[in-house]
Amino acid sequence: MGGYAAFLWPAYAVTFAVVAWNIIAARRAHQQALVEARRRFSADADGDAP
């Protein structure tokens, strides 16, 4: 990389780590929201919810 490898590869690594984090965090947030909603409705069905 013409002497620029020490700058280029960390830049690409940071970028694609952030891309991966965005995908994983978004999917996790959606799964968590689904789990919370499911828990709420099952609690409602058991008569525990106010």
């Binding site: 013409g2 620029y4 700058f7 995908i23 929201a33 909603a37």
Partner: protein
């Protein structure tokens, strides 16, 4: 003009379903474009006559910088729609943008610093463009801190929307800072009125990466928005149908 489509956008179950349908249509082309651009940018594009191989930083720096500004524009527009028309889905859209925008602003700053060191001899200088980009990161973080600091969702929506709208003033400063003031940062190569000042074999991977990152943002934002809508509507009957 028929405004039914606009009114339907205010419906959380409609938005939840539409977002779910659209996500793969953005995600797969985004993945294909980014992988192709990565290969073309790293292995096919010729080295720059001045910056040598170091110019390849542009393929991650420019798309991240573009996203940081574009996402803020989307966030502020959604916040304004939410504030003016009291559309909760618009506030959910604005809230979904913040973390994505902050992360790509961080990437643009880090990749800019890693480009600056070999080209300018320093990682950081209080240059107008760099400073305005740092202000953008602070605006994103402030927006998220404000939202999480207010328990009442309605108040959090309104307060954060006002902050997002005020912060729009920073966008033209970022865009035109290199023209208004003496800046160490280079002038635009692609986003300008005249023809891009890059040969096609360098430009094509950049355009592919710009489009790929934009589609990736759309896909990630839609997934985050579905989560946000579910959280806000957790007691609604349509959510019961979704989760059962």
């Amino acid at each position: 003009m028929d405004w039914t489509w606009f009114h339907r956008l205010a419906s959380p179950p409609h938005i939840y379903r539409v977002a779910g349908t659209l996500t793969p249509w953005f995600a797969w082309p985004a993945g294909l474009l980014i992988v192709s651009a990565l290969y073309a940018g790293l292995f096919l594009a010729p080295p720059d006559y001045q910056q040598g191989e170091g110019f390849r930083m542009i393929y991650v720096h420019a798309p991240s910088a573009w996203l940081s500004v574009m996402i803020y524009g989307v966030m502020a527009t959604a916040a304004a729609v939410g504030l003016i028309w009291r559309m909760k889905v618009a506030h959910a859209a604005a809230a979904s943008c913040a973390a994505i925008g902050a992360s790509f602003t961080f990437v643009s700053l880090v990749t800019g610093m890693l480009w600056g060191k070999p080209m300018w001899g320093t990682y950081w200088v209080w240059d107008p463009r760099l400073t305005a980009q740092l202000v953008l990161l602070i605006l994103y973080l402030g927006y998220m801190a404000l939202r999480s600091g207010i328990d009442d969702l309605g108040r959090a929506d309104r307060a954060s929307a006002v902050l997002a709208i005020i912060g729009v003033v920073n966008l033209p400063i970022i865009r035109y800072s290199v023209e208004w003031w003496n800046s160490i940062h280079q002038a635009p190569s692609v986003m300008k009125m005249e023809r891009p000042s890059m040969p096609f074999d360098m430009l094509a991977p950049l355009l592919m990466m710009l489009l790929g990152f934009t589609l990736l943002f759309a896909a990630v934002m839609l997934v985050r928005m579905r989560a946000e809508v579910l959280r806000r509507e957790r007691g609604a009957s349509w959510v019961k149908e979704v989760v059962s």
